[in-house]
């Protein structure tokens, strides 16, 4: 049950799984809210200082307001978990994020997967990566101890028809800037 680092990887593997088992594979999107209880070290120190200061000034009911002022500084955090699961082979592919900026892109990905579910041909100009036979992916899928659908998926004639060009790399830019300084 791998978690993918990048949503693109998740999309590619999910598309392959869907290609192999289009009838049973489902994609679940879970939006999950959690109270932000964990404080950072600085916040903890600050709360302690406040507590101590309040305790010195007024040794009575002071500590309670100090904690209540410290807590609401952090809003509850949401997480988004994408999971592709095929009950027949038991393959589950996951991707997790907490960034709001990704939502639109992820729903677009759900759309491309939806097209596959509907057995529609892929949109050529959608900008999504097409399937290419990937030895790494095959190894990963085999390593997860499940019956891997990847080899058959990769060997279908539809795969890799137009996806040979260089992919538009958006990931490298930030790193380069950091290195320059």
């Amino acid at each position: 049950m791998p978690y993918y680092e990048k949503s693109e990887d998740w999309l590619r593997e999910s598309a392959l799984l869907l290609q192999a088992r289009p009838a049973t594979t489902r994609v679940t999107t879970k939006y999950h809210l959690k109270p932000a209880r964990r404080l950072t070290k600085e916040q903890k120190a600050l709360a302690k200082q406040q507590l101590a200061a309040d305790g010195k000034k007024a040794p009575g009911p002071a500590p309670a307001p100090a904690t209540t002022t410290a807590v609401p500084t952090k809003p509850p955090r949401g997480h988004l978990l994408l999971k592709t699961f095929d009950p027949q082979s038991g393959v589950a592919l996951k991707y997790k994020t907490s960034k709001a900026a990704e939502v639109t892109r992820l729903v677009q990905m759900l759309g491309t997967l939806g097209r596959r579910m509907a057995a529609l041909p892929e949109v050529a100009g959608a900008g999504q990566q097409h399937d290419e036979p990937m030895p790494d992916a095959e190894a990963a899928a085999a390593g997860s101890g499940t019956q891997t659908p990847v080899p058959t998926a990769a060997s279908t004639p539809a795969a890799g028809a137009s996806g040979q060009g260089p992919q538009p790399g958006g990931g490298g830019k930030g790193k380069k800037k950091k290195g320059k300084r």
Binding site: A23, T24, T29, Y31, L33, P75, G78, L80, A119
Partner: protein, 133 residues
Amino acid sequence: MDHLTHDEFFIKLAELFSSRKNKDHGKICLTQKRFSYGQDIPEPSAADHFPGLNVDGPLPVLIRASNGKSKPRRADKVKLSTVVEPSDLDAFYGRYAEVCKAGMLALKPRDRTKRKAKAKKKKGGAQQTAVAS
């Protein structure tokens, strides 16, 4: 349970999201799969490992949404579902993205503090070098 029309589905989904607004717990599950009810696709066997590969023509997609309440709180469970015809997929996902983006408010907004700090640092550094020269 009957399937909703797209309009109803989006209205109720927006309600579902807004019910979690300003709350610090809870979840919303969205699921999509091929609408394969009544198609009688056989279980995979040794002879046919991948049934369901050869279907004629496009099929609809089933979209489900729920608030994930189970056994003890079954009464509070909200279940929504709709069927999207292949021809409506693009329009549907466009609206879907809007509703999701508007509803998932507790996700981290884009962090601009780092960039600002960096800009400040650069400015400070430039001034320092100017003074030094």
